[in-house]
Every structure is written in structure tokens, then in C-alpha cells.
């Protein structure tokens, strides 16, 4: 598994290779779509983390249900796919770890990795906004 610190936040070359098109229209369409949808997924993940994934003693008797963990795994899986499509490598790596932890019901890893989301996502969002602006996307 690649070291997350060395991975690019957003690699446009991946996006261009995936779509087979380097036009500003394609790039802005893909990135704006990604930003809109990923924001929703990240919010859901953060909510799930706050409400379900707690390993501290106060919540020991409120362990997340299998359904909650399966939902988290599914959210991470979808977000991972989206990241792969636009070249958001760092978030993709994080989602991969989160998905595995959710599937294996590894609550400690899940909680630790969810904390990283609070760093990785704003960094990516800022990069997205900048790239969209550079490609003439009006609504940043």
C-alpha cells in the first residue's frame, strides 16, 4: 500500500486519461460533479463516524450495528471509485483503508482513519476549487 503522505491530492493526468479528453469542459464537468457528490459522501461518513463509531468506554455498550458498518463500507467504496476517476489519490487511499476497516469491523482503525478525513478532505476541496477556477469554472 502506498504511503498516503507521498500521494498527490489531485492528479489531473489521471482524470484526463480516464475520460480520454483534456478539454476544460470535460475537466470542469468532472471536477464540479465530483465536488458536489463527494461533499455529500464525506458528510455522511463524518456523521456516521460521530454517531456510530466510538470506541471509548462511554459508548462501549453502543457498538455500531452490522448494518451501520456495511453502510460505511458502501459509502467508502463509492467515494473510492469517484476518487479513482478524477485522480484524488490521497482520499482514495484513505477510503480504501476505511472500507477495509469497516468490512473487518476494525473499530479502532476506523476511528483513527476517520479523523484523517478532517485533514484530507479540506485539502482536496481547496485543490478542487483552485483547479476549477484555473479552468474557468464560474461557480467556485
Amino acid at each position: 500500500m502506498a504511503d498516503a503522505a507521498t500521494l498527490p491530492v489531485l492528479d489531473l493526468n489521471v482524470l484526463i486519461a480516464m475520460y480520454g479528453d483534456d478539454s476544460a469542459e470535460t475537466i470542469t464537468l468532472a471536477l464540479s460533479g465530483f465536488r458536489r457528490e463527494a461533499t455529500h459522501y464525506v458528510q455522511q461518513l463524518q456523521n456516521a463516524g460521530q454517531h456510530n463509531i466510538r470506541t471509548d468506554s462511554a459508548r462501549k455498550d453502543h457498538a455500531p450495528t452490522d448494518t451501520a458498518l456495511a453502510d460505511m463500507a458502501r459509502l467508502c467504496h463509492s467515494l473510492k471509485s469517484m476518487c479513482g476517476l478524477v485522480g484524488a489519490a490521497k482520499l482514495m487511499q484513505l477510503c480504501m483503508t476505511l472500507e477495509q476497516a469497516a468490512r473487518q469491523q476494525d473499530l479502532t482503525t476506523l476511528q483513527n482513519e476517520l479523523l484523517k478525513l478532517a485533514e484530507v478532505w479540506p485539502e482536496l476541496l481547496s485543490q478542487l476549487n483552485l483547479t476549477l477556477l484555473q479552468h474557468g469554472y464560474p461557480d467556485v
Partner: protein
């Protein structure tokens, strides 16, 4: 030049991914793309449109991709044939998932991410390549609660009736008469589907090709004096191929606008109906009756397999990409 028309349905619950797949499918020459963000919408599309190729994600809410595939293969949809090419497009390649996909004879398993160019090549490849798909009844008999991890035992496969079979090789289709199989391989097809010919409809092309193949098989075992059980088996397959041709043509006809083509093709199908009925009831012991019927079928084929119903498909360059 007549371009084939393919209907491709892409299913993914992630909007960005679904739009990406939709955009790619639209780029394939001759393809018309449909998209669905969930299994329910996908099922509605499969029910109402004659889909020629399905690309689906697995992990979705509602009917999952595997449930959708099971329903296609078991012939649950009125407008979509059960033996269409199916491509799974998933981010995870778990062993259990792959085993289940194999039991449903999925044509391909693509791991995300995949580039637009690679996907276009895959779509073109699967639209041009026939895969051996068993009858809908076979898949229906598979465990419908999706807990089955492996395919059905081999002995079950032997008795299943395949509607679409490999043209060159049929390993287990006729366990009763091995001599007949070897003879058949040497003989020239009784009815022949010309290379690069098309009606402009992918599904009708497939049904006509299967019809020709099955009638040819019936002819070959009959004139080869094979055992009655082998002849009877081929006769039934030919009847099924006939029925499937009627079924698919009826479903496509409702939604299409090529009036001239449909007028002519409908006339041809009307001519085929009494022949199909006779094929269904003919006693194979009455040699002269069967020979006359085969001759009439051959005559029907010669008249049908011609312009303007069937034309040379010159778009190979476009199709091959």
C-alpha cells in the same frame, strides 16, 4: 451501409461514475445509451427497452447488481433477452463475487478504475463476440437467494437446453450420440448467416443466426440418420430458436420507426409462423414430411436473408474501433 443499433444500459449508484459510463457508451459507434442510478430504475429500463448490453456495478442499494444480473439471466424482463452480454464494473473483486458472476455466465468483470478507451474496446468486443449462455430456466433454477457460491453441478448442465450455443463447438449438448456431433462438424450448414450481414438490429441478427444454426443442426442429424432422441432434441431447439425470434421481433417492433423494414419483416415472420407450427408438431418418423418442411424452411430463409431486410454491414471499422 447499414449501421447496427445497440442499446447499452449502464447502472451505477454513484452519479459521477454513472455519467462517466453513460458518456463512454454514447461514444461507441452505433450505440444508444441508457443510464440508471439504482437497480429499480435499471429493472424498469430492462423491462421496457430491448437492451443489448448491460454494464453494472455490484454494490448498490435496492436490487444489487447481482440480483439484476440474476433477473436478466433468468429471463425476467419482457423486452430484454436473457443472453445479452453483461459486464460487471466494480471496485472490488472478491472471490465470492467472482464465483457468483461465473455461475451467471457474466461476460466480463472489469475492476475500477478503467479508462474510457479501454471501456469502449470492451463494449465493442462483447457486442461482437458470442458467449455460450444457457437457457433462462437454468439460471432460474440457481439459488434465487444469492447464497449459492458455486455453479450448479455438471450433471445439471448436461440436461439443460442452451438456446445460444457456440457455433464451432458443443461439448455437452448431445451426450446421446457422439457420432452425430462429429458428422455435424464436417457438414456444411444447411442455413447460412452471411458474414457481416445485419438487419440493423443486434438482437434480431443474433436470433436469425441462432435460428439458422439450430435448423441446420436439426437438418444435419435428420439427414445423418442419427438416433431419434438426438433428432427430437435438435427439433426442440430449433422450435425454441423460432419462438425466441418471434418474441424478440415483437418486442423491438413496438418501439421502432423503420416502418418499411418492419412491414417486410413482419410479412416474413407471418410466413414463418405456419412453418414453425409444423416444426413443433412434425413427426420425425415421417421422413417425407420432415424433408418437405426443411425444404420450405430453406426457401423461407433464402427469401428472408436478402435485401432489403438484410444488408451488408460495412461499418466494421467503426465497430472494431
Amino acid at each position: 451501409m447499414l449501421l447496427k443499433n445497440f442499446n447499452v444500459l449502464v447502472v451505477d449508484d454513484v452519479v459521477l461514475m454513472c455519467d462517466f459510463l453513460y458518456g463512454v457508451a454514447k461514444k461507441v459507434p452505433g450505440c444508444y445509451a441508457f443510464k440508471a442510478l439504482d437497480g429499480k430504475t435499471a429493472a424498469e429500463t430492462l423491462e421496457n427497452e430491448a437492451i443489448d448490453l448491460l454494464i453494472t456495478d455490484i454494490e448498490m442499494k435496492g436490487p444489487t447488481g447481482l440480483e439484476l444480473i440474476y433477473r436478466v439471466r433468468s429471463g425476467s424482463f419482457a423486452s430484454t433477452s436473457h443472453d445479452i452480454p453483461i459486464i460487471i464494473f466494480s471496485g472490488n473483486a472478491y472471490l465470492e463475487l467472482i464465483q457468483q458472476s461465473i455461475s451467471y455466465d457474466v461476460n466480463d468483470f472489469l475492476a475500477k478504475p478503467i479508462t474510457a478507451d479501454q471501456l469502449i474496446r470492451k463494449i465493442q468486443h462483447h457486442l461482437q463476440t458470442e458467449k455460450q449462455i444457457k437457457s433462462a430456466a437454468h439460471y432460474l433454477a440457481l439459488n434465487s437467494d444469492f447464497s449459492a457460491k458455486t455453479a450448479v453441478p455438471d450433471e445439471n448442465r448436461k440436461v439443460s437446453v442452451a438456446i445460444v450455443r457456440e457455433l464451432s463447438h458443443k461439448p455437452e449438448a448431445e451426450p446421446v450420440d457422439t457420432d452425430a456431433s462429429s458428422k455435424k462438424a464436417d457438414e456444411k450448414d444447411f442455413l447460412f448467416w452471411p458474414e457481416h450481414a445485419t438487419t440493423g438490429y443486434f438482437q434480431i441478427d443474433r436470433r436469425l443466426r441462432n435460428f439458422a444454426f439450430n435448423i441446420s443442426c436439426f437438418h444435419n442429424v435428420f439427414v445423418g440418420n442419427c438416433k431419434p432422441v438426438a433428432i427430437e432434441s435438435e427439433r426442440k431447439r430449433a422450435c425454441e430458436a423460432c419462438d425466441y425470434l418471434f418474441h424478440i421481433a415483437k418486442n423491438i417492433q413496438h418501439k421502432e420507426r423503420r416502418h418499411q423494414f418492419w412491414l417486410l419483416f413482419h410479412q416474413r415472420l407471418e410466413k414463418l409462423k405456419p412453418l414453425a407450427a409444423e416444426l413443433n408438431s412434425v413427426n420425425i418418423k415421417h421422413h417425407s414430411q420432415v424433408l418437405v418442411l426443411l425444404k420450405r424452411l430453406s426457401y423461407w430463409w433464402m427469401q428472408t436473408c436478402n435485401r432489403p431486410i438484410i444488408q451488408k454491414n460495412d461499418d466494421d471499422g467503426a465497430d472494431h474501433g
